[in-house]
C-alpha cells in the first residue's frame, strides 16, 4: 500500500464514499463543513483530493457541462478498490485499539 491515510484524508475519503459516484468538490466541502462543524477551504480540499488521487485511493472523471456553472464541467470522484481497502484497514486498526482501550476509556467518562 502506498502511503498512510491522514485524519482529513480519511474524512474526505469517507465523505466521497457516502455520495457514491455523485461526489464533487462543492458537495464534499459542504458535507464536511456541516458534519464536522469546521470550515474547509476549497483549495485545501482539492489539494487533499489530488494527493489521494496520487496515492491511488480515488479516481475521477469529468461530468457533462451544465447550465448552472457557466458551462463548466464538474469533476466527480469515486473511491478505488485500494481506497476502500485502505479505509477498511484503518477501521480495523481503530476497532482493535478501541477494544483494547475500552475499559480505560469507560472509566474516564
Amino acid at each position: 500500500m502506498k502511503g498512510f491515510i491522514g485524519e482529513f484524508e480519511e474524512l474526505v475519503l469517507l465523505t466521497i464514499a457516502s455520495f457514491g459516484d455523485q461526489a464533487y468538490g462543492v458537495i464534499i466541502k459542504d458535507d464536511i463543513e456541516r458534519r464536522a462543524n469546521r470550515s474547509v477551504s476549497i483549495g485545501a480540499l482539492h489539494s487533499t483530493i489530488t494527493r489521494l488521487e496520487e496515492k491511488g485511493f480515488v479516481k475521477s472523471w469529468l461530468g457533462e457541462p451544465t447550465e448552472e456553472r457557466g458551462g463548466r464541467r464538474k469533476r466527480y470522484f469515486e473511491l478505488t478498490q485500494t481506497g476502500k481497502a485502505g479505509l477498511h484497514q484503518m477501521k480495523n486498526l481503530r476497532d482493535e485499539l478501541w477494544k483494547a482501550s475500552g475499559i480505560n476509556l469507560e472509566l474516564a467518562k
Binding site: 462543492v26 466541502k29 483549495g43 482539492h46 489530488t50
Partner: protein, 874 residues
C-alpha cells in the same frame, strides 16, 4: 437570485491567468457554484470576499500546482532520472563535441587557460592548510600574540615580551609547558675561516618535546639544557661539515663557541617555523651575545623576535590565561600613550591566518591570499563567460534537438541536466590540458613567491581530488547559463527554429568582450611600462659613472697588496677601494653629532680611498679629496643634502665644520654633488664618505682594455698568486646595478603571464563571436557579392563592429592603468620616471594587432568566399 450578480471578474482573470494552460475548469466551476450558493445566505460583498478567499486558497493549493505541472509536460514525461538517458546525454555530448570541433577546441583551450591559475591556487591552498599538522601536540599548542596601540597606531604582532614566559611558568597553573623562542639567530658561522650564513632560533630546552621536530642523533631532553649548545638540521650539517658527524664539534657564531649536541631531521616544508639551527635559549640569557641582553628582555616594549608558545592540557582556561596576561600588561599600560594587550592563538590558526607583524616564518595571511583568489577568478571568469557566450550563440544548431526532446516528454530539468553534463565533460577535458599548463608554470610560480621555499606544489591524491572537484564545479557554474537558456526554450519555437534572441543578450556579449580586452590591455600595459621603467632605471643618471668598472670582492686580502699587483696590469686604468657598492645595496646609517650639541643627524656613510671620487666620476663642489689614510683619519666628505640638513647654503662655508661620531671629532673637508648612493626607491638623504682601510670590502677596478676575458684571466692569476684560497669574485658594476633592479622582472613576469592568459582568453572569445556572426551572414555576403559588393567592402562591413569593441576597451583600460601606475605603484618609487606615450602606444599596438588578426582572419575568409559555393545549397 439576480441575474446581473456575477463573481468578481478580477479574481476570475487572475485565477485563469495564474493557471495558464492547466486544466482547471472543474475547480473554477466549484468556486463559482459556491459563490451562488453563498449569495442565498450572505450579502453580496461578503460573498465576493469569500469568492476571493477561495480563489486564493486554490491558487496556493497543491491541486493547482500539480495540474500546472501536468499541463507543462508531456504525458510521456517522467520525473525520475533514467540511467539510460544519462548515458544518452554522454553520447550526445561527445557527438556534438566532435561535430563542432572548432568551438569545442576554443572552449577547451579557453577553459584550460582560465583554470591553470586556479589549479595553482588550489594546490597552494591545499598545501598551506596542512601547515603544522605534523606536530603530535598540534591541538594543544598556543602562541601568545600582542596587540599594541601606540599613539592611535594599532598593530598586531606575532611576538610577545619574553619575560611573560617567566610569569606564566611561575604564577599560573594549568599550563604544561612554556617555550620561549627567539628568532634572532641569523648570522655567519665561522668554520675553518669560512663564513657560512645560518638562520635559526634560540629556544628553551622543552622546545623539542613540545614541537615534533625529531632528532637524528642526540637526546631531545638533554640537547639544549646547557648554555651555548646547539642542534642543527641535516641540511645545515651538509652545508657546514659535509659528511662528517658533527656532534661534539664546536662552531663559532658571533664570536661565541657553540657545542653541537644533536642533529635534527630537516623539518617538513609545511612548518610555520623555518630554521637550520636551534640554540639553547640560555645562551642569550647570559647576555653573551650582542643585541639580546637581559635588561631589554624585561621591557614590555621589547618583544621583536621573541615568541612564546604554550602547551595547554585543555582549551578551557584560555580566557583565564588571556585575562591574566592582560592584567600583567595593564600594570605598564598607558605610559607615554603606549598600550599592549595579549591574546592566545591556536597553532592551526597561525598559517594561514591573520596578518601579523614580525612573524616567525613565512606568513601566508588571509589578505594576500584573497588577492590571489581575486586574480585567479579574474582569469577564470572571462573563460567561463566565453563558454556561455559561444554555446548560447550557437543555440540555433541545437534547437531542433531540444525541441524534439521536449516534444517527446523531456522535462525542463532533464534538458538542464543534459547541458550541465555536457559542460562538465568539457571542463574535465580542459582539466587535462590545464594540468599540463600547471606543471609548466609551477616552478616559475614558486620562484616568484617570497617564501617559495616553504611551499611544495607536489601532487598527492588529495590535491588531484580537489582538481577534479574543481573541474566539476567549473562545469556546473559555467554550464548554468546555457543549460538554463536551453531548458527554457519553447518547444514550438525550437522546432520552428525561430531564434529567441533577446536584444540584451547581444549587448551582454559585447560588454563581455570589452571587459576581457580591458583586462588584457591593463596587464600588457603593466608589462610594457615595467620594462621601460627597468630600462630607464638602468640608464638613469645616478650621478656617478658605472662603465667599465669591475668590482672585485676583497675577501680579507690586503687592499694595498692587491692594488699594487693589479695596477701592474696594462688593462687596468685605475683602482679604488670602498666598503660598499654604490646604488645597489642600502648603505648603513650612523648618527652624527654636531659639536654645538644640537640634535644628532642620521647620515649614511661609506668608506672609500683617495682614488674613489675620480674613479667613479663624482664631482667635488667645494673643498678637497682625501689624501692618504693617515692624513684622512677623522675627515669626512659630505653631500649637498647633508648641507641642507645642517642649514648651510654655501658649500665652502661647510668646510672645516666639526662633528662627532662616537665621540670622535670629524672634520668636513669636501662637498660632493648629490648622487644616488642607494637604490632608486629611496630618496637621497644626508651622506658622507670616510676613509678607513679596515672597512674596505670591494676594489673598484677601472678597466681600459676591450678584451674583458683576458683581463679577468689575468686578474684571476694575480689573485691566486696573492695566495687567496678563495674564489676570485668580480662583477661589472653595470651588471650589478642591473641585477639590483631585477625585482622589477618579477612583476614583469607575473603580469606578462597573466597578460598572456588574458589575451588568449579574450582572443578565443572574440574568435568565437566573429565566426558565429560571419557564419550567420554567409548567405548575405554571397548575395551582396553577386550584386557587386567588393571584397574590401565586405571585410569592413563584417569587422567594424568588433574593431569598435576593441577601441572602446582601450578607452576604458588606459585611464585605469595610468591611474594605477600614477597613484599606486609610483608611490613606492621615490624617484619616479614619468609614463610616456610610447609605452602606452606599444601595448595598445600589441593588443590591437592580436585583436585585428583574430577578426580579419575570419572576415577575410568569408569575404573572399566564392558566392557560388555559399549560395548553391539552401
Amino acid at each position: 437570485m439576480k441575474k446581473e450578480i456575477k463573481p468578481p471578474v478580477l479574481a476570475d482573470r487572475l485565477f485563469e491567468r495564474y493557471c495558464r494552460n492547466a486544466q482547471i475548469e472543474d475547480l473554477h466551476g466549484d468556486v463559482e457554484e459556491l459563490f451562488y450558493l453563498n449569495l442565498k445566505t450572505m450579502p453580496i460583498w461578503k460573498a465576493k470576499v469569500y469568492y476571493w478567499r477561495q480563489v486564493f486558497s486554490l491558487m496556493f493549493s497543491y491541486a493547482v500546482k500539480r495540474r500546472k505541472k501536468n499541463a507543462s509536460t508531456h504525458a510521456f514525461a517522467s520525473h525520475s532520472i533514467n540511467l539510460g538517458m544519462v548515458s544518452n546525454y554522454f553520447l550526445i555530448a561527445s557527438r556534438s563535441l566532435v561535430k563542432n570541433k572548432f568551438f569545442s577546441i576554443i572552449n577547451i583551450i579557453g577553459l584550460a587557460v582560465g583554470m591553470s591559475v586556479c589549479l595553482l591556487l588550489i594546490s597552494f591552498f591545499s598545501f598551506i592548510t596542512t601547515y603544522d599538522d605534523f606536530h603530535a601536540e598540534r591541538n594543544n599548542i598556543y602562541r601568545v600574540i600582542s596587540k599594541t596601540n601606540y599613539k592611535t597606531e594599532l598593530k598586531e604582532w606575532a611576538s610577545a615580551p619574553s619575560f611573560l614566559a617567566h610569569h606564566l611558568k611561575n604564577d599560573h597553573t594549568g599550563i604544561d609547558e612554556v617555550v620561549r623562542v627567539n628568532a634572532s639567530l641569523n648570522s655567519d658561522v665561522e668554520i675553518d675561516n669560512n663564513k657560512i650564513p645560518i638562520s635559526g632560533y634560540y629556544v628553551d630546552p622543552n622546545f623539542l618535546s613540545v614541537f615534533t621536530y625529531p632528532l637524528v642523533t642526540g637526546n631531545k631532553d638533554m640537547a639544549l639544557q646547557k648554555p651555548n649548545t646547539i642542534v642543527i638540521t641535516e641540511r645545515a650539517v651538509k652545508k657546514l661539515f659535509g659528511d662528517v658527524n658533527p656532534v661534539g664539534e664546536a662552531i663559532k657564531i658571533n664570536n661565541v663557541d657553540f657545542e653541537i649536541t644533536g642533529v635534527l631531521e630537516d623539518h617538513p616544508k609545511n612548518s610555520h617555523m623555518q630554521f637550520e639551527a636551534l640554540a639553547s635559549y640560555q645562551s642569550i640569557e647570559k647576555g653573551s651575545l650582542n643585541g639580546a641582553d637581559n635588561l631589554s628582555l624585561s621591557n614590555l616594549k621589547e618583544f621583536r623576535d621573541e615568541y612564546i608558545y604554550l602547551l595547554l592540557p585543555n582549551a578551557k582556561n584560555i580566557h583565564q590565561l588571556e585575562s591574566y596576561l592582560n592584567k600583567q600588561a595593564s600594570k605598564a599600560n598607558g605610559i607615554e600613550g603606549y598600550n599592549i594587550a595579549f591574546e592566545l592563538q591556536k597553532l592551526e590558526d597561525i598559517t594561514p591566518g591573520r596578518a601579523l607583524s614580525n612573524s616567525i616564518g613565512p606568513a601566508w595571511d588571509i589578505q594576500s591570499l584573497s588577492a590571489f583568489i581575486f586574480i585567479a577568478l579574474l582569469i577564470l571568469l572571462p573563460a567561463s563567460f566565453n563558454y556561455a557566450n559561444i554555446s548560447i550563440a550557437q543555440s540555433l544548431k541545437r534547437m531542433k534537438e531540444i525541441g524534439l526532446r521536449k516534444m517527446m516528454g523531456g522535462l525542463q530539468q532533464q534538458i538542464f541536466l543534459q547541458f550541465i553534463i555536457e559542460t562538465i565533460i568539457i571542463s574535465l577535458i580542459s582539466l587535462g590540458l590545464s594540468f599540463y599548463l600547471f606543471t609548466l608554470i609551477r616552478q616559475e610560480f614558486l620562484a616568484m613567491l617570497v617564501s617559495g621555499d616553504a611551499i611544495s606544489l607536489d601532487l598527492n591524491m588529495q590535491t588531484i581530488l580537489y582538481f577534479v572537484v574543481f573541474a566539476v564545479l567549473v562545469g556546473l557554474v559555467t554550464g548554468f547559463v546555457p543549460a538554463y537558456y536551453f531548458s527554457k526554450l519553447n518547444p514550438v519555437q525550437a522546432m520552428k527554429k525561430t531564434p529567441v534572441r533577446k536584444a540584451s543578450g547581444f549587448a551582454f556579449r559585447k560588454s563581455l568582450t570589452v571587459f576581457q580586452f580591458v583586462l588584457s590591455i591593463v596587464f600588457i600595459t603593466t608589462v610594457v611600462i615595467q620594462l621601460s621603467q627597468y630600462r630607464q632605471t638602468i640608464n638613469y643618471d645616478f650621478g656617478f659613472q658605472q662603465e667599465n668598472i669591475l668590482d672585485v670582492q676583497l675577501q680579507e686580502s690586503d687592499p694595498d697588496l692587491l692594488r699594487n699587483e693589479f695596477s701592474k696590469l696594462s688593462s687596468v686604468a685605475q683602482i679604488s677601494m670602498s666598503s660598499n657598492v654604490l646604488g645597489v645595496e642600502g648603505v648603513p646609517p650612523v648618527f652624527l653629532k654636531n659639536l654645538n650639541g644640537t640634535d644628532s643627524i642620521k647620515v649614511f656613510q661609506m668608506f672609500i680611498d683617495e682614488y674613489y671620487l675620480s674613479n667613479l666620476g663624482l664631482t667635488l663642489v667645494a673643498g678637497r679629496n682625501f689624501t692618504s689614510n693617515k692624513l684622512s683619519n677623522n675627515k669626512i666628505i659630505v653631500n649637498e643634502s647633508f648641507l641642507e640638513k645642517i642649514g648651510i647654503n654655501d658649500p665652502s662655508l661647510a668646510l672645516g665644520q666639526l662633528f662627532t661620531i662616537n665621540d670622535q671629532p670629524q672634520e668636513v673637508i669636501g662637498v660632493v654633488l648629490n648622487f644616488h648612493y642607494a637604490p632608486l626607491d629611496q630618496p637621497i638623504e644626508s651622506f658622507m664618505f670616510r676613509y678607513d682601510v679596515n672597512q674596505f670590502r670591494v676594489a673598484n677596478v677601472k678597466v681600459a682594455s676591450n678584451d674583458m676575458l683576458e683581463t679577468l684571466t689575468e686578474m684571476d692569476a694575480i689573485w691566486r698568486m696573492l695566495g687567496g684560497e678563495k674564489k676570485f669574485i668580480a662583477h661589472f658594476f653595470e651588471e650589478e646595478i642591473e641585477e639590483a633592479y631585477s625585482n622589477y622582472f618579477v612583476l614583469v613576469k607575473l603580469c606578462g603571464f597573466l597578460g598572456f592568459l588574458a589575451i588568449t582568453i579574450s582572443c578565443l572569445g572574440l574568435l568565437g563571436m566573429v565566426v558565429l556572426t560571419v557564419d550567420s551572414k554567409i548567405k548575405e555576403i554571397g548575395i551582396r557579392k553577386v550584386m557587386g559588393a567588393s571584397t574590401h567592402g565586405m571585410v569592413v562591413m563584417l569587422s567594424k563592429d568588433f574593431i569598435k569593441l576593441i577601441f572602446i576597451a582601450s578607452c576604458i583600460a588606459l585611464p585605469i592603468t595610468y591611474l594605477f601606475f600614477d597613484q599606486v605603484y609610483m608611490r613606492t618609487q621615490y624617484y619616479k620616471i614619468p609614463i610616456g606615450a610610447t609605452e602606452i602606444l606599444i601595448s595598445l599596438g600589441i593588443i590591437m594587432s592580436f585583436g585585428f588578426f583574430t577578426i580579419l582572419s575570419q572576415t577575410m575568409r568569408a569575404a573572399q568566399a566564392n558566392p557560388v559555393d555559399t549560395l548553391r545549397s539552401e
